[in-house]
Point group: C2
Amino acid sequence: MKKDKHGCDLKTCLMCRLCLKEWLPAVEAHRKNYTLNKGQLLFSENDAVTGIYFIYSGKMKVHKHWSKDKELIVRFARKGDIVGHRGIGTELIYPVSATALEPTTVCYIDMDFFKSSLKVNNEVLYELMMFYARELQESEKKMRNLAHMTVKGRIATALLMLLQKFGADEDGYINLNLSKQDLASYTGTTYETAFRMMNELINDNAVEVAGKNIKVINAGKLEKLGREYEEE
Amino acid sequence: MKKDKHGCDLKTCLMCRLCLKEWLPAVEAHRKNYTLNKGQLLFSENDAVTGIYFIYSGKMKVHKHWSKDKELIVRFARKGDIVGHRGIGTELIYPVSATALEPTTVCYIDMDFFKSSLKVNNEVLYELMMFYARELQESEKKMRNLAHMTVKGRIATALLMLLQKFGADEDGYINLNLSKQDLASYTGTTYETAFRMMNELINDNAVEVAGKNIKVINAGKLEKLGREYEEE
DNA sequence: CGGTGTATTGAACAATTTCAAGGAAAGTGG
DNA sequence: CCACTTTCCTTGAAATTGTTCAATACACCG
């Protein structure tokens, strides 16, 4: 039942692991649920950091602002994921924003409590450290790709990553309704270029698109596009 | 004297903090010093991770390979910095390489010992977690810049960062002999473009170059170049 | 002094962005 | 339900930025 309480996957949800430890009652006093509509901001770049969030249900994007109509989506988050941990660091200010991509429910835990929990529970702290380490590896891989890979390759890689992260429905469509604008922001390019590249991928018979739904038909082809360099 | 033992700055060196804790004798049994010449590899992408390194003296670059003659420098490291922590994660394989930029001495600690130390010492683990968190913030800021900033802006930003990290000598030259190739790899561009942009910066009276030595003359101008977007 | 590697520069080329404009789709108010 | 507004989609073409290629100059090393 404790599982039901938070509704996430015990294995991957740090929140669950946290709550299922000795301090469940303590957590109860420091947590709070929020529900967001599609498009609603959970927190915004430069906001003061007051706590950390865990996603109970729904999907979010974490993004970094650049100019009026430019941003970079740094990460997608789904049920069971942590959001707002990027606010932990020297500053007490979020370096990113988080926006719901569909109706989303999150659990908020205030930072003081969270931090003091970490100081008490070495195991969870270790887990969190490892989580950061993995995120750092991810981030730097994406950074290199951004620097050296062509837009088409980046889009191909992004689609594979989305497929892996969100899975596909019965018809093979990725379980995420991504606007082309968001796809562009995620791959660090413009709307128009993202659009053109998607067309190329469709012509290559690598993907199929129906409205906002994307189906990966030929994963091998996409993978190959992400490895143009293998010709060292 | 314990400080002298490792020769780094107590405040910033996790190694020092580690060693000055209760387990100095234990550390002694698990550490080993290595000295590298300029250009020598400490570890290479895809090597198995067996331990972690702390820099006693010298400077290194941490880089991610792309194709025959392309890479991305992910980070520079100096005395007191940790190297090889990117190997911690799910995989037991380094996602990056580390190369000495000048004669460098490092201290190696085997991973098993390091990890078990972390499990025992909550305070150091917490410190390490925060370190990762900061690195992640850095990485994502650089990622956004790579995606949206022009090459000139990236070079300007890079120079400021190098100045801040390595400081300047009496004449104002940055304490790091960076080849133009490395500057290009750090900013995710080509040798020639990096060269041309440096020329522009010289013409702008923002920097001065004497051989491999770079002096920042007008930091304000460089900062401005890194903020072209502020016209939201 | 020749050789090897890096520095410098120009010019062609390629990738991506920007601008502009027409079309489709979706929401709004009458 | 229709006309209207608005927003997003789609596409072409020009402009820009950055890369690649090629050639020459320079500097250090044995």
